[in-house]
Symmetry: C2
Subunit: 418 residues, 2 copies
């Protein structure tokens, strides 16, 4: 009961603070961001002390090396947070612009003004840098934000929250503009997800379990991203050098991320020459191939793929490979097994590129480019707060602009409706 | 159990049909719409027979005259449905365009292509014309749609569904592009709201009870509209003739709709001259005034307002009136009692118009114009499928464009990520 009232009160105060954040000028918002960058660099020693408590606890609990790594703050991560904040500060203010102003037959001028969403709630797991990145992006877009990080990062997040509060106070913004939920109990998430009156958007970031939990329990709209099962189709007539370069980049450069390649589809006319070529490079990079029957015939060392391998997010040095009869067959495979994240074609044919681009249902469709480019920075959005694989509001990487909405503004001279 | 599997199967088939709808050309989609318009006009007699069964049942059940009226199909409503379909057909295709194509430093061309949302589910009450309007708008945007009308309109909706299926079949589109839920039990709504795998968006249209039910039970994103509590602020120095014209239009022209005026705020410097002027017109139109203390002093016949009258959606010939000390006081009142729907100011002052426009949190902000203009047709969107009072995806009237999303398209020449 007490926990419930603490969180409800927090959400209510965030709603009130969001009005001040919405009308804060660009200069004030940007100063908070650059001040926070300065404070982070100046206070890094104190930060490391708090972070060490989390890291130690994680080690004692026997968390995996990868998790401890994500949790650990270093000079490099602090510098990167500060740099990110300065970059966001340098971006154009996404709020207050008016576009599409048109004159109606009755003389009314009708346009749309960008406005903040209001209150955003981020629910995330171990990385403490999300605390700073999310606060920066939400504030730039004129939103208040409620941050609910994982229990394993609570000391780091509390310390970061204190520094954020300082940057807000120095610039006259209410501390509730960015609030940190001090309760790490999962029941607190349930209470947050019921605050539809005070919270406008929930963004979960973390494992699929967390995201499904949030979607199932939220009465507030959720922008989510389940997984990335990215395909690449090497079309008839494709340049083998280009296809190999893209395949290797997409699979190997960073196999653990959502825009890495999971399944390679190869047109039957290219399979006998292309697969032996790419096999060597994949092998050299330590990639295991799980192939369809035809692939196994061509690539001696390929493991036969099981049904379970199609549409699977390996997040590892494993690649499913399938030979397909046609562009249609490739499209059908992607429709059946894709995750609406990122899909690529390598083709020299104008008409087939156009067909692929139109028909594939994914947040980003790549023609002759690596799937790894589906990223806010690479696509030119600036820093991203997440990737959406559902189509409402935003589909794909979400930058500062995706943290805004639009209202109609109507300028008249006394018009009434007849 | 059987009901559950019928609805799940229906949703699954709608998802499959949505792929065909998404890749249907503009000509095919428009022909379905104009064919349906022709069929509706040709088959109106058969339609009236089915509609009469619903109307009779409604009368027997003792439904209100207003509800029976909404349920009744006449020559006029059928002609208006047909006209609406032709107008939607005449609109530009909202799908497949690419905008914001930019070149990145590495030469990649990055743009956004408009795409259908996928499968839309409309849950509505008594008006059978929603069946046709929603089918037309969803199809134009390349979506499949699942329609779940009220039990009181089941015979009318079934007949309309048959005509829609004919128009689809004549143009080679699968019948599941537009499907009608044959089960009027409310439990069927619960099953629909759990089909997150197959349905992308739910739009409820009806009373607040229905909408709250949908929001509470849906795992699918919901675009909703609770109510419209519209204010109008007569600023210091406002032209009294203009203010009176707008006030009368906003309150009286159609008091039962969501963009009608509910509360009039008057700057204290204008109250003693403006209120007596508008009082006569309001009285002549049969409007009851519920005033604050200062209003009651000026307007002899005003009833004293209770706290409950502020922020109330009267939907009737009743107007709450409050005298305020300043623009700030008007903004504070609107922030406290508004419904984020439509707010208006009448002012001659450039700076105060700008302040009002920026600070008011509503889907449409009107300067010197009637609140009644917050409507898809009036704002230039064409036909509307609903009005959203939440900020995710769409805020305000939603036309065909709001039934689409965007994906990134990336055109490369072999680029890989470094």
């Amino acid at each position: 009961m007490e926990m419930e009232s603490i969180i409800t009160e927090m959400a209510k105060k965030a709603r009130i603070a969001s009005r001040e954040a919405a009308s804060a000028g660009s200069a004030v918002k940007n100063r908070v961001l650059t001040d926070l960058a300065d404070i982070l660099l100046a206070e890094r020693k104190a930060l490391f002390v708090e972070n060490a408590r989390d890291v130690e606890a994680a080690r004692e609990k026997g968390l995996s090396a990868a998790m401890v790594d994500r949790l650990t703050l270093t000079d490099k991560t602090v510098e990167s947070m500060a740099k990110g904040l300065r970059e966001v500060a340098a971006q154009e203010d996404p709020v207050g612009g008016i576009s599409h102003m048109r004159v109606r037959p009755n003389g009314l001028m009708v346009g749309k003004m960008t406005i903040p969403l209001g209150v955003v709630c981020m629910i995330y797991e171990s990385r403490p840098n999300v605390t700073v990145d999310a606060a920066g992006l939400c504030l730039k877009a004129g939103n208040a934000v409620i941050l609910r990080g994982g229990s394993e990062a609570i000391h780091s997040n509390t310390a970061l929250g204190g520094l954020i509060a300082r940057a807000l106070a120095e610039n006259g913004l209410p501390p509730e503009t960015v609030s940190l939920v001090p309760i790490t109990d999962r029941a607190a998430v349930n209470v947050l997800l019921a605050q539809e009156e005070y919270i406008d958007l929930v963004i979960p970031r973390g494992g699929e379990g967390l995201i499904r939990f949030v979607v199932e329990h939220s009465r507030i709209p959720v922008l989510k991203h389940y997984k990335g099962v990215c395909h690449m189709f090497v079309d008839r007539g494709a340049d083998h050098g280009m296809a190999e370069g893209i395949c290797m980049n997409a699979k190997v450069q960073r196999p653990g991320v959502c825009n890495a390649l999971e399944t390679l589809l190869v047109h039957k006319d290219e399979a006998r020459t292309f697969l032996p070529r790419v096999e060597g490079s994949l092998k050299a990079a330590g990639v295991e191939i799980r192939g369809c029957e035809r692939t196994v015939e061509i690539v001696a060392e390929a493991v036969p793929a099981t049904e379970d391998d199609w549409g699977r997010e390996f997040l590892d040095l494993i690649l499913a490979v399938k030979v397909v009869d046609s562009l249609e067959a490739a499209l059908a495979h992607i429709a059946a097994y894709g995750s609406q994240h990122t899909e690529a074609i390598v083709t020299p044919h104008y008409d087939r590129a156009l067909t692929f681009m139109r028909r594939v249902d994914a947040s980003a469709v790549m023609v002759n480019a690596s799937t790894r480019f589906n990223d806010g920075g690479e696509l030119g959005l600036g820093a991203e707060i997440g990737i959406s694989t559902s189509k409402l509001h935003a589909f794909g990487p979400m930058g500062v602009k995706e943290l805004t909405s639009e209202k109609f503004v109507v300028l008249g001279e006394g018009q009434i409706r007849s």
